[in-house]
Structure formats: structure tokens, C-alpha cells
């Protein structure tokens, strides 16, 4: 594999700005990951830690490499603001006159940032998993797939053309399928894996068609070339709109946006490190990265493109937040929270807050990975995912609890923590779009503020139910204890970042992030009024949540089942009623989230399952009725018909001579009739 790239490299085409230093070797990083995957598959089984060592070593190399590339890129950015990335490619193949596919990589601010995120989180997860997965079945297979995943993610991040990005994209899909279905002995796990793969695959089809439209419009798959053409009007705006919407399908599929979001909660069936790496920090973010990478296409299309992005983002963020409120399973809460935060970023892009949403990717990666890993250690201790079996763990697992609380506060966007800075900028972006008069902007602003409140609320609920209050697990079987050092160190590191990660983007003079990643003008100015408003909402939400779940005695499940038909009625009004905030009363709010969850399970999730059922049913119809019945039946009947006519004709041979002679004359008579008729 390496030799292939080496031979290809020497007659590669040098394009774009000059490179040098670490960036030159950026392509080595995904190769390391892929090679490590191969190595683990080959010899992993015989190693003491069953292949984990190779994985961790590779991840260390990847992270360091990522950092080097990052610093080199930053150096270039600092050198001249107008530097827009270094690119190197070699022709992978040409499949027609003038249509070539390149095998190349491109590094710019955005890519550098992503390299750091992926590198660091992957390293943390690998270390964490090394101990988490000890004693599990098929560990070698697990680590190999994990490395494969990291390789694919890095390919997507570094790809300089859309087709190579698609290759990485589907590579990620495959590894997520394998990882989710790691414990495939249980049927639900393998079904969840298939559901994840198929739902993302539906999105991928849209992405593929988007690539085709752009390829035929721009004549090549190269991202830089396409963005350039899009920017200076080389491609018609109509085509750009169609292409943008199609690309957005891919994003919706991969980043689990409404309506293709149903697979992410089920994907929690996989081991927690997988959820942490794939379903928090890296893969699900790929959709946002795609939109960011191809932003000129979105920007120069008709406004409807970005409006759709914004609207979808807003809807998803609200629904996901509501659903997170009502979950029993700790990991599902985090899953819905991830969907909600991703929707934040998508909505941010929709209203043009480019730097803010990329900055939110940055911060979200740290605290969400932290939350998942921490949740993993909690579950590992309590041997159950449900919060009903937890409670009062603060004293038992101090490090995990503290880091978890730090992550939670970051998620809820309280000031000093990372979450506050990025979410605040997003709200500012939305506010500016709203003030600029775009209807989607106002909707996004409203959704963001509501979600800020709801997020804080479910964070509070989560913390209350897990770490405080009476312990609800039965003591003989379960005696929670702090996780081993290999699991807690990553938690601490990530907690540090959850706190300090945001500072790199503090508005004002210290702001580096703006310079690293920007589209068009520098950075939205700090708006104190928005900051206060969002923090206030967060505080209110946290207080409400704490009040309800920590103090009051809440029986969550009873109401839901009894009043199901009423909820359905409520639901319909729910959609019609566009006064969103009016009269939020605790019972009403409970019922709304329950209804939302019910919709999600029956309508949306049901839809996906129904699609499966419909496919199988039509398959049976196509096979049994059309294929066997109609076409094959026709063929067999034809054969039987000839057989039967043969049978009848046979009996004309009666054996009596005079009948023959008479038959001869009759035959001649009919033939004469035929001749006269066919006067050919």
C-alpha cells in the first residue's frame, strides 16, 4: 500500500501554494492508520494485549503527526493571511478522455484543525479502550477496525477530491457498521449495525449524485477547482443549488440530522469507546465538515440551499434536545445530545456562521468525547446503562464524577467552559442573520435559545440522576469503584481541554481560531447582550432540571403509557401550534418530550423499519409473483403447450391407410386454400 503511494508520488502534480515541512508528509498519517489496521489483523492475535499496543502506538504517531501538520499550517497562516492551503496529488486513474480521478491530499486551516481533533480523540479513545475492552471477545478485530476507521476519517479530512472523500466516507460507514455490531451474538446489535449502515448509505447516495452533478459541471472532482469555479460564477447557480442540496443529503445521513437521525441512538449498541470516537467526535462531524469544505458551493447557490440547511438544523436541535430529556439510558441521552449539538453546527452553517460552527466542532469534540468516556466508566462500574440503576456515585467514583460534571457544564455552555464560547458565537451568528431579516435566521435563533435552555435542563437531570441522590443499584451485586488509571487519565486530559479548549477562540484580540478558519471576513464581534441571554437561559434550565429531578419525586414512566392516545391528539395540535414557548408547564413539557419520543419511535424510526419491511415484501412479490409466476410461468407453459399440441397431432396417425389417403387430399385442399390466400 505504502509502495503504491510512493511510486505514485514521484510524478504527482504540484498544485496550489508551496508546501514544505510537515505538510509535505501529511499523506503518511492516514497510511499509518491503515497499515496499523492491516498489521493488527495479521499478527494482532498473538500479541499480549491482542493488538491494542499497535493501535495505541499508531494513534500516538497519528496525533503527533497531526500536531506537526497543524503547527506547520498555523505557521503558514500566520505568515500570510491569504494562504489557502497546500495540495499535492497524483492521478489515481483516468476513465475517459479528460476525466481523471486524483489520489491526493490537501491541508488548510480547516483540515489542520480536524487533524488535531481526530488525532487527539482517537488517541484518548484507544488508551481508554485498551483497558475497557480487556477480556472482551474479538478484541483484535475491534482494534483493527478502530484503526481502519481512523484511517478512513483522516482520508476524508485530507482528501483533495470528492471521489476520494466518498471512498473515506463509505470506509467510515463500514467500520462503524463493524464496530456497532461488535457484539453481534445479540440480534439487536447486528440489526442496529445494519440500520446504521443502510440509513447512512441512503445519505451517501445523495452525496454521490451531488458529486456527479459537480463533476460534470466543473469537469473534475478536485475540491479547490470546484470551489473556485463556484465562487467566480463558473457553474450555474441552479446546478449549484441542486448539487448543494444533494451534498447536504450526505451530511444529513452521516451527521444524523432529521429525518435520517434515527440510527445514532441505536448505534449506542456498540462498545462505549466506539460511541465516544465515532458517534461523538469524528464520524458524525464529517457531515458538518463536508458542508464546511464545500461552503462556496452552498454560499453561491440560491438562498434556498442555506435556508434548508438552517431549517433542518433548527428542527433537529429542538427535537433531539426534547428527546434527550426523556431518555432512561445514559448513553442515549448523550446520543440525542450529540444530534442536538450537531444540529447547532449545521444551523450555524445555515445562517453563515462558518467559523463559529467549526469552532463548535472543536469544543464539542472535547466535552462530548469526555462525557461518553466517563459514561463508559460509569456503565463499566454499574454494569447497566440505565440511570434508574445509578445514583449517588459521586463519592464512589470521584475522578469520573468530577470530569463528568466538567463535561456536563461545558455542554450546558456555562461561561468559563469551552462550550460557552462556541455556542455563544453561534447564537450571535444567528442573531445577526435574524436582524439581517432572513426568516430562517429568526427560526434558528429561536431554536438555538430554546435548545440552550433544554440542554442545560437535561444536563442537570443527567447529573442528578447519575451522581447525586440515593443510590438505586442493589449493593450485593454492584459495588461501584473508580475505573483503572488507563481509563481515568484520558478523562482528566479531556476535562482539561473541555475547560481550556474554548479559550483559544475567546473573542477579542486573543482570538486565534478566527484566523485559522474563516470564510470571507474575520469573525463576528462579541455581543454581550446575547452572551448574557444565553447564559441566563442555561442557568434557568439547569435550575429547573435540578429542581425537578434532584428534589421532587418524579415518576417518569407512568404518565406516558396511560395517556398515549391523548398525546397523539396533542401531537397534531403540537405541530400546528406555532407559539413555541407559550405556557411551558412541567407536566406539559414532560408530555411534549414523551410525545416527541413517541413520534420518533413510531413515526420516524417506524418509517425506517417500515421501509425495510416494504422492501422485503416487495422483494417477495417481485420474486414469487413476477419472476416465478409471470415470466418463468410463461416459459414453462409455452413448453407444455408445444408438448400437448404434439400429443394431439400424434393421434392423427390412425393406422388406417384410406384415412391417410383422404387426409392427403384434405391436406392438399387446405394448402390450395392457403396458396390462394397468400398470393405471395
Amino acid at each position: 500500500m505504502v509502495s503504491l503511494l510512493a511510486t505514485a508520488a514521484e510524478h504527482g502534480t504540484e498544485t496550489a501554494a508551496s508546501g514544505g515541512g510537515a505538510m509535505e508528509l501529511a499523506w503518511v498519517i492516514p497510511v499509518i492508520a491503515m497499515v496499523s489496521a492491516a498489521l493488527i489483523w495479521a499478527i494482532g492475535k498473538r500479541l499480549p494485549m491482542r493488538g491494542a499496543e499497535i493501535g495505541v502506538a499508531a494513534m500516538i504517531a497519528v496525533f503527533i503527526g497531526g500536531l506537526l501538520v497543524f503547527f506547520d499550517a498555523i505557521a503558514h497562516i500566520n505568515a500570510d493571511a491569504e494562504w489557502h492551503g497546500f495540495e499535492k496529488a497524483v492521478t489515481w486513474m483516468n476513465f475517459g478522455p479528460g476525466s481523471t480521478v486524483e489520489l491526493g491530499y490537501m491541508v488548510d486551516g480547516l483540515a489542520a484543525v480536524m487533524m488535531v481533533i481526530v488525532g487527539f480523540v482517537a488517541l484518548m479513545v484507544h488508551i481508554y479502550a485498551a483497558s475497557y475492552m480487556k477480556g472482551e471477545v474479538r478484541v483484535t478485530h475491534f482494534f483493527a477496525t478502530l484503526s481502519l476507521f481512523t484511517g478512513s476519517m483522516l482520508t476524508v479530512v485530507l482528501a483533495n477530491n470528492l471521489l476520494m472523500m466518498l471512498v473515506g466516507w463509505e470506509g467510515m460507514g463500514l467500520s462503524s457498521y463493524l464496530l456497532i455490531g461488535h457484539w453481534w451474538e445479540k440480534h439487536e446489535n447486528s440489526s442496529a449495525a445494519i440500520k446504521a449502515f443502510l440509513t447512512t448509505r441512503v445519505g451517501d447516495i445523495g452525496f454521490m449524485f451531488g458529486i456527479f452533478v459537480l463533476f460534470w459541471a466543473a469537469g473534475s472532482f478536485n475540491v479547490a477547482h470546484i470551489n473556485e469555479l463556484a465562487a467566480d460564477g463558473g457553474i450555474a447557480r441552479g446546478t449549484l443549488t441542486v448539487a448543494a442540496l444533494l451534498l447536504f443529503c450526505g451530511a444529513v445521513g452521516k451527521s444524523a440530522q432529521f429525518p435520517l437521525h434515527t440510527w445514532l441512538p441505536d448505534a449506542m449498541a456498540g462498545p462505549t469507546p466506539v460511541s465516544a470516537l465515532i458517534h461523538a467526535a469524528t464520524m458524525v462531524v464529517a457531515g458538518v465538515y463536508l458542508v464546511a469544505r464545500m461552503f462556496p458551493v452552498f454560499d453561491n447557490a440560491f438562498d434556498v440551499a442555506l435556508d434548508v440547511v438552517a431549517v433542518i438544523g433548527s428542527i433537529t436541535t429542538v427535537i433531539a434536545a426534547l428527546l434527550a430529556l426523556v431518555q432512561q439510558d445514559l448513553k442515549r441521552v448523550l446520543a440525542y445530545s450529540t444530534i442536538s449539538q450537531l444540529a447547532y453546527m449545521i444551523a450555524g452553517l445555515g445562517v453563515g456562521a462558518y467559523t463559529a460552527s467549526v469552532f463548535h466542532i472543536w469544543t464539542h469534540a472535547w466535552f462530548k468525547a469526555l462525557l461518553f468516556l466517563a459514561a463508559g466508566s460509569v456503565i463499566h462500574a454499574v454494569h447497566s446503562n440505565n440511570m434508574t440503576d445509578m445514583g449517588g456515585l459521586f463519592r464512589k467514583m470521584p475522578i469520573t464524577s468530577i470530569t463528568y460534571i466538567v463535561g456536563g457544564l461545558a455542554l450546558a455552555a456555562f461561561p468559563p467552559f469551552a462550550g460557552f464560547w462556541s455556542k455563544d458565537e453561534l447564537v450571535v451568528g444567528a442573531y445577526e442573520a435574524a436582524t439581517a431579516g432572513s426568516r430562517a435566521g429568526t427560526l434558528t435563533l429561536v431554536a438555538m435559545l430554546l435548545t440552550a435552555f433544554l440542554t442545560a435542563c437535561y444536563v442537570a437531570r443527567m447529573l442528578a440522576l447519575t451522581f447525586f441522590g440515593k443510590p438505586r443499584y442493589d449493593p450485593e451485586h454492584v459495588h461501584p469503584h473508580e475505573s483503572p488509571k488507563l481509563m481515568t487519565y484520558p478523562l482528566i486530559a479531556l476535562a482539561a481541554l473541555a475547560v481550556a479548549g474554548g479559550w483559544v477562540g475567546i473573542p477579542g484580540e486573543m482570538n486565534q481560531f478566527g484566523r485559522w478558519v474563516h470564510y470571507g471576513d474575520e469573525h463576528a464581534a462579541f455581543n454581550p447582550m446575547i452572551a448574557i441571554l444565553s447564559t441566563g437561559l442555561a442557568l434557568a434550565g439547569f435550575a429547573a432540571g435540578w429542581a425537578i429531578f434532584r428534589m421532587g419525586k418524579v415518576k417518569i414512566d407512568v404518565r406516558k403509557t396511560a395517556l398515549a392516545p391523548f398525546y397523539r391528539l396533542l401531537l397534531n395540535r403540537y405541530y400546528l401550534d406555532d407559539i413555541y414557548f407559550k405556557g411551558i408547564v412541567r407536566p406539559v413539557r414532560d408530555r411534549l418530550s414523551a410525545a416527541a419520543y413517541w413520534i420518533n419511535q413510531k413515526v420516524l424510526d417506524g418509517a425506517v423499519n417500515a421501509a425495510g419491511m416494504v422492501a422485503v415484501a416487495s422483494g417477495r412479490f417481485a420474486y414469487r409473483d413476477v419472476d416465478q409466476g409471470l415470466i418463468d410461468g410463461l416459459v414453462n407453459n409455452l413448453a407444455r403447450l408445444t408438448g400437448r399440441t404434439g400429443d394431439k397431432l400424434k393421434f392423427w396417425q390412425t393406422g388406417n391407410m384410406q384415412r391417410y389417403a383422404a387426409a392427403m387430399f384434405l391436406g392438399v385442399a387446405t394448402l390450395v386454400g392457403a396458396f390462394v390466400f397468400f398470393r405471395i
Binding site: 404434439g646 396417425q653 391407410m657 391417410y660 392427403m664 394448402l671
Partner: protein, 482 residues
Amino acid sequence: MDVNLTALLPEIILAVVACGVMTIDLFLPKERRGAAFMFSVVGVLATLVAVLNLYGQNITTLGGMFVVDRFAVIFKIVFCVAALLVFAVSHAYLKEDGEIPHGEYFTMMMFALLGMLTIASSRDLIAIFVSIEMISIPSFVLAGIRKHDIRSNEAALKFFLFGVLSTALMLFGMSLFYGIAGATNLADISENLAGRTDIEEVSLLAILFLIVGFGFKVSAFPFQWWVPDTYEGAPIPVAAFLSVASKTAGFVGLFQVMFLALGSLAGTWRPMFGIIGVVTMTFGNLVALQQKQIVRLLAYSSIAQAGYMLVPLGVASATNTELNTTIVFAVVAYLLVYAFMETGAFASATAFSRRGGGYMVDDYAGMFARSPVLALAMSAFLLSLAGIFPFAGWWAKLVVFQALIEGGGLWLAIAMGINTVVALFFYSAVVKRMFFDRSEVTTAVTLPPVLAGAIGIAALVVVVGGVLPDLFGRLAQNSHFF
């Protein structure tokens, strides 16, 4: 009146040998009857040699009555070779059967052969009529040669009655043409008929009567009723002789009359042969699907094959001699290949019907395990009849298709295509039984040397002809006689 004896040499030799064998047979003691076979083989070989040295010459004697040209010589060769193969098959059959007298059997065969040699060269209605009778009468005797077997008698009676009736009808046709054209020499007839417009209606009627005679000989529909019963009743070598030699003679006669004499009336008889051809092949194939007895199956398949050979006549044209040449080339090529594959098939059927084998198609089950060589030969002939590549049949069918397409008979070609597919079904059914089914009977069927030789030669010709069809191609190349 010049009489060029060298032209008549083959016929003379054959007549002398036939009479010789007949008389010697009287004096031979019972057990040394094999001699008749030896003498007749030598006789036919001598005739064949005489014919071969006529190859390439072009002689017309007896006032245009008797002509030796490429067309006649090729068919004389075919007749002699076919006769030799049938002799080889009959030798084994007679030794097995024991009841049939060798002398009469081979004499009658040679008399019939004489009729065929003369019809190939005769260019006169009377000569054709007499030659046809010369073929028919010994065949009636041959069909009924197993005197004590009522099935053979019945076969002979049916064959006789149908034969005589169709000859009478043909004669009526010939008399009408004599009335219309005023001559019996084919060249004169075509001369008189050329350009006459008033004869449209009556010539249609006369042609109809004529077709009855040739239709009977060639086993075309609706004149083929006698074929299945006669082939089943008569001894298998006689059936082979009828299906190969006398059918080819029928075609030769048909060709001479239709192309030489009634060339200008092509417009009228073209549709007749088109329709007769299609109906014949369809009838033959459809009924063959249901046959359980191998000889009856081969009988219906030979009817279908006759259909394939009749169809090209359906695209003949009065004016375009180049098209007619292709048509004659196509049918002559088909006849050449047909002679070998049909004789081979009957020979294999004879071989298998002896001890250990059986007449029914089901008896063929698992034959490959018992006598692989015979099974391979039989499947070679059957697949060749079906027109599958490695065997000569594919080229023969291709050439006929070619003639049809060139003549514009698209619908005829499609009908023939569909028939080929239907035919493949019953040919492969027999092959399937031989190869795929397993049967409890495991005694191998022994092959006497002479019969094995005949089957071997036929199989060799069929396979080599399939791979390098040009052997037949060059022979049939300039066989036209325009």
C-alpha cells in the same frame, strides 16, 4: 442418335452386378450366404469408381435425355456412398435376423440404387417417371421383405398403396404438362412455357398434381402419412435406405422438374413450397416430441428435416438465377450432410436395437455407462441433426438460413429458427437419457466390426465436416445446372 457409353457406364455396371448377384445367390448353399454381401459391395464400389472418373465432365447423350454434369455426378456419389453405408448396416442386421434372404435383399437394394443413378441424370419426364418407379418397386419389396412378420407386411402394403396412388396423381400432372407444353424433355418444356401468360390457372393445378408425386417421395406434409408406419414396420436398414437414398432421389427429381422445366412458373410454386416446408417441419418436430420408440422418432425427425430442405424453394425466383444458385447450393449442401448424419443415426439405432439394447427411447437410459463409444456416436448424429456447432449439421442449417435471408424469406427463417429450438428438445431428450439417466441394465452392447466401421466413417465425416465444413462446401459449390 449418338449414345455415349462412358456416360452410361456406372448404370450398366450396376445392372450387370445386380443380375449377377441374383443368379449366383441361387446356386450358393445356405450357410455361405455372406458372399452376396461381398459381391454387392464390390459392385457398388465399381460403380462408384466409374462415377468418380466422370467427375468434372459434362456429357449430354440420348438427345438431351441423359446428362452427366456436376449436379448428377455429385448425387450419384451420394447415392453410392449411402448405399455402401446401408449395406454395412444391413450386413450386421441380416446376420442377426437370419430370416431375411441375403441375395434378394441386396439385389433389390441395387435395383433401387440403379433407379436413383438414372434419375440423377435424366432430363425427361418419361425418364424421371420410369426412374421413380424403378426406385419405388424394389423399395416396396424391401419394405415387406420379412415375409412372416405381419408388421412388415402391413408396412409394405401401406407403402405400396400410398406410392401407387401418388404415382397415378403425378402421372396425371405430367400428362397435363405434356398437354400444355407439348414435350416431355425438360429443356423443351421450359422453352415452350417461357413467356406464356395464359397458363396461370391450369399450371397451378398441374403443379399441384406433380407435387403429390414428389411430396410422397420426399415425405412432405400432407403426403407423409406412410412414413412413420413404414419405417417402424420395415427392417431398420431399409428404413435408413428409404429415409436417405430415396428421399434424396425425390429431391433430385423435384429439383430437375421445378428448376429446369418449370423455372418460369416459379411465381406460382414458390408459395406452395414455402408453406409446405414450414408445415412439414412443424408437424414433424411437434409429433416427434411425443414419440417413445426410437425409429418412429427418427422417422418424424426425417420428416422435419425434409421440411428444412423444402423451405429454401419457398424463396426461389423466376428471373434471378443467382438467387436460385444459392438455393440449390443450400439444399444440395444440406442433402450431403443429411445423408451422413441420418444414415449414422439409423446405423446407431440398429446397433443398439440388437442384443442388450432396445427399441424404446427409455431403453437408451444410461447408455453412456454401458457402451460409451456408441453413445458418443449417437449423440454426435442427433446433435448434428439438431444443428449444434461441432457437428456438420450447424453448417448445413447455416447455409439454408443464408439462402432464406438472401431470398428475403424472413418469416420462413424465423419459423425455421423456432423449429430448430423445438427440435433440439427431443434430440437432447434422447441424449439426456443416454448421459444423465442411470439404468440398472449394465450389459455392454457389442458392436460387430462392419457396423462399427460404418458408424465410425459417418461419425468422422459429421465431426470433421462440422469443424471444416468447406469439404462439403466445395463439393456443393458449383452444383447448379443452370
